[in-house]
Amino acid sequence: MENWSLFSLCVLLGLTSRWAVSFHSYSGAGKPPMFGDYEAQRHWQEVTYNLPVHEWYFNTTNNDLNYWGLDYPPLTAYHSLVCAYVAKLLNPEWVELHASRGYESHSHKLFMRATVLFTDILIYIPAVLLYCFYFCDGSSKQKVATALCILLYPGLILIDYGHFQYNSVSLGLALWGILGLGLGWDLFGSLAFTLALNYKQMELYHSLPFFCYLLGKCIKQGLIGRGFFQLAKISLTVLVTFALCWMPFLSDPKQPLQVLHRLFPFGRGLFEDKVANTWCSLNVLIKIKTLLSRETQLFLSFALTLLFILPSSLKLLSKPNLWQFKLALVNSSLAFFLFSFQVHEKSILLAAFMLPLLVKDGLLLPYVVTSLAFLFLSLYLLSALERSTEEELRLGLYRKLTRHWLPKLNLSRIIKWKFWFSLVAMAALSFTSVWLEPPAKFPDLFPVLVSILSFLHFLGFIIYFNLVQLMEPQRKKSQKKTN
């Protein structure tokens, strides 16, 4: 079968599962007075449409910041404005100032879901297709299989089409950035990533690798000649993009400060709810939230985040190629997730670890179906488990070290058994979270267990990926895609 038909089948399957998930409930459905993220997005359309720009991020009589005030950068606000114009055409009641609070109707839900689908088709899906086409190894069938697995990834589908968010826009733009860098179009890549950053500040997780990669590349080209010129062009692109996005807010010095204040709410504390990062897990043993002062918490999280991303970034700076870049992306985002301030569980976009959130939203069925489907599909199509020998895991050096102490260990078998053990643990926790009642003494037992289990996994991943990036044993396949 021809390539184009296989790719279009993948896209159609991805689109069908996305829209089918959207039939289910969304966050805060039918739960006054605050509702949930869905209501937040609707409220932003209302605010951006009805109020002038300089009032968007400020607390005024017309704009109560306590009721889902804007806390994403300006591009999200502009996106909401565009959606609001369309909403006004269809039904003005949806964006009526004040009167439309808590508005819920079937046609409105269809409209909101349609906006997510539209941006997905426009931004995220083409990026995934191009990525698989250009940057995946293997035959065209393997590329299609990879594309299918990425498109059916449960985390993104459940959060965007279930809980309701627009992660596909920021992730899609970031992916376009990676594509740009991979194809050697540095300016385009920086432009795309800057736009992603201006859409959701969470993309800061990925910013350091982008910076180090581009800087390293320029240094390699010689800081006196072409390298400097390239660096200047990239910086100019980034600055101009920022300026264009923030233009309405640059008239008054108070504006950018307020926006930044909304984007980075340091006043809200080290963490909220149950997040699978270090602080939440540590809190179970030592109550650091209450023990340390706000400033100490900030300093500690800053220091640890920096500690964990520094090795990976420096390595990337010294060896700016695509493989290092991808690894650095993973390491940087994991480090930020684990150690930074005020992280939300959605930031990880890994389905199983958002289970309590999904159950609260009434999304249990799509969670089970999409996770099972994804798991089965990845195992079947990508033969994930077959590739768990040491070579594939690139842990050759690690093996040398452990050979002295644990000579009889068969690493690949350990990995396989560990994989199945994790799966069983996740399934068991999912089951108990939904069907069993926690003991009265520990009402939050199951969410806490979920976050601790997840935290241990992430800790393991960050160590593993750092090892891989820093040791960098020889790759078997040719390095034809490196820059």
Binding site: M1, F23, L365, T370, L372, L385
Partner: protein, 539 residues
């Protein structure tokens, strides 16, 4: 190797990550994938058929057998044969564990989340029969060794059947149990292909007792079994050898059929309720056409009648006052009085149907072509009844498409006809899902199935030119503007209020052209096909 042990082996192999030496794993992957998709559609729109089946669960559970065909609290009375009622009875015992309230007969339109979950899951689980039948059908195909997976006829057939757009839309959104029923039909066909005729006949009589609409294709079965099974041998040129008649076989076949009917209708005959049961099974439905005209001959007949009456009034050949009221308002009423052309009675449709299938039956009596000829005749019987029947539902086209898929992966002419018929009839199912929420789903799934069938059949038959000639391609492409007009443009115009049925009429007339064309082509291919019994594996 039985299916369960096979599945277990696949699971264990996945666990141990051993390489898949067995090449049947793709079947289970496809089956699992489509089941996941069906699970995601649990929350989609469901039609009144959902309430129909809930009502049947309730009445078979709460009432004694003697009341089943008399119960009329709900308007959706039991109008399937007794074996289906027993199936619902069995399901109702599992329904107890989900929500007891659904089994209370007066709870009309009861649709709690547990009820929806149970009913949807019952359709998904009943599809296991369909999976098994598809697997058996794949065994009847000619296999080419060494082809890559996506080009194998059995892979293509599996996807065409398991992921069939019509079944997904009608069963898992609109809500019916067609997957299960078609599973029994395909299994019966597979058994005939494998020369296990007694099993095939038994399965078909069971099917007739599950849903009597399959009477449409009973003539094909009757003639085929009589000709190819009861007459054990043919002459060298394929003609009938009268002396080879086997009374034993005929008697056994008769016993199988009669005993199935006895088990099914027996209790009701004993209770003296047979007339009542028959009146429920064959209600005298008013109207030549359903509210939405099925894309058959009568749709074309209706539109011709309308055109003549409008032209007649325009050219003052007819007096507008003398014409029946309904024909000029443009509305679709059940009782359709034709104004210019003669009105059509149920008897007339029966005669037309019989006339349309007689040549095909005669052909397989005269020169049977083994199982393939039987299959072709079956498709023609299904299509003929669809084309000329009384009060036909557009869903009935599925009876022609699913068996035609079996032929499509075997011969390139049939592949062309299949593409024409399947795309047209799948499009004609669109009005079944009229909600805005389901619009993207039906478009995505339609594109999915169409792109797959086009691309895979084209690859399978790449030697020998294109499968569809330019005229056919133009016709199929014309479906795109038709869809845009009917679903997107027309609702925004001023005519939406005055002529709300115009899009439906356009759809059924346009599709009727395609279906008629496919019917004619299929007939021609049956009447002109040479006797290839010696060459084919299917015998």
């Amino acid at each position: 190797m039985s299916a369960t042990s096979h599945l277990l082996k696949v699971v264990i192999q996945t666990v141990m990550a051993a390489p898949m030496t067995n090449d049947q794993s793709w079947f289970y992957a496809l089956a699992l994938g489509v089941s996941f998709l069906k699970c995601l559609l649990i929350n989609a729109y469901h039609s009144t058929d959902f309430e129909v089946h809930r009502n049947w669960l309730a009445l078979t559970h709460s009432l004694p057998v003697s009341q089943w065909y008399y119960e009329a609290t709900s308007e959706w009375t039991l109008d399937y044969p007794p074996l289906f009622a027993w199936f619902e009875y069995g399901l109702s015992h599992i329904a107890c564990f989900f929500d007891k309230e659904m089994l209370v007969v007066p709870n009309l339109n009861y649709a709690s989340p547990a009820t929806v979950l149970f009913q949807r899951l019952s359709v998904i689980v009943a599809d296991v029969v369909f999976f098994y039948a598809v697997k058996e059908c794949c065994k009847c195909l000619r296999e080419d060794k060494g082809k890559d997976l996506l080009g194998k006829p059995s892979f293509i057939l599996t996807v065409l059947l398991l992921w069939n757009f019509g079944l997904l839309i009608v069963d898992h959104i609109h809500f019916q149990y067609n997957g299960f029923l078609f599973g029994v039909l395909l299994l019966s066909i597979a058994r005939h292909c494998q020369n296990r005729h007694f099993e095939g006949a038994f399965l078909f009589s069971v099917l007739l007792n599950l849903k009597h609409i399959y009477l449409y294709i009973a003539p094909a079965y009757g003639i085929y079994l009589l000709r190819c099974f009861c007459f054990t041998q043919s002459n060298a040129d394929g003609s009938l050898q009268w002396r080879s008649f086997s009374v034993v076989r005929l008697v056994i076949l008769g016993t199988i059929v009669l005993s199935t009917f006895a088990v099914s209708f027996g209790p009701f005959i004993a209770l003296g309720q047979l007339p009542q049961v028959l009146s429920r099974l064959f209600p005298f439905k008013r109207g030549l056409c359903h509210a939405y005209w099925a894309p058959n001959i009568w749709a074309l007949y209706n539109i011709a009648d309308k055109a003549f009456s409008i032209l007649g009034v325009k050219f003052r050949l007819l007096d507008i006052n003398k014409l029946p009221k309904a024909s000029m308002t443009g509305g679709l009423v059940q009782e359709f009085q034709h104004s210019v052309l003669p009105s059509v009675s149920p008897l007339a449709t029966l005669v037309c149907t019989l006339l349309s299938i007689l040549p095909a039956l005669f052909k397989i009596w005269h020169r049977p072509n083994g199982a393939r000829g039987f299959l072709r005749c079956l498709v023609i019987c299904a299509l003929g009844s669809f084309m000329f029947g009384w009060h036909v539902h557009e869903k009935a086209i599925m009876m022609a498409i699913l068996p035609l898929s079996l032929l499509a992966v075997d011969s390139r002419k049939d592949a062309g006809i299949f593409l024409m018929l399947s795309v047209t009839s799948h499009y004609s199912l669109f009005p079944l899902l009229f909600t805005t929420q389901e619009l993207p789903i039906k478009i995505f799934l339609m594109l999915l199935f169409t792109i797959f069938s086009l691309a895979s059949l084209k690859t399978l038959f790449r030697k020998g030119g294109a499968l569809l000639n330019p005229l056919e391609v133009t016709y199929l492409l014309g479906l795109i503007p038709l869809e845009l007009i009917c679903e997107f443009v027309y609702p925004l115009t001023v005519w939406q209020k005055t002529f709300p049925f115009l899009p439906l009429m356009l759809t059924s007339v346009y599709c009727a052209l395609g279906v008629t064309y496919a019917f004619i082509r299929l007939y021609i291919s049956l009447l002109t096909c040479s006797d290839t019994t010696k060459k084919t594996k299917m015998q």
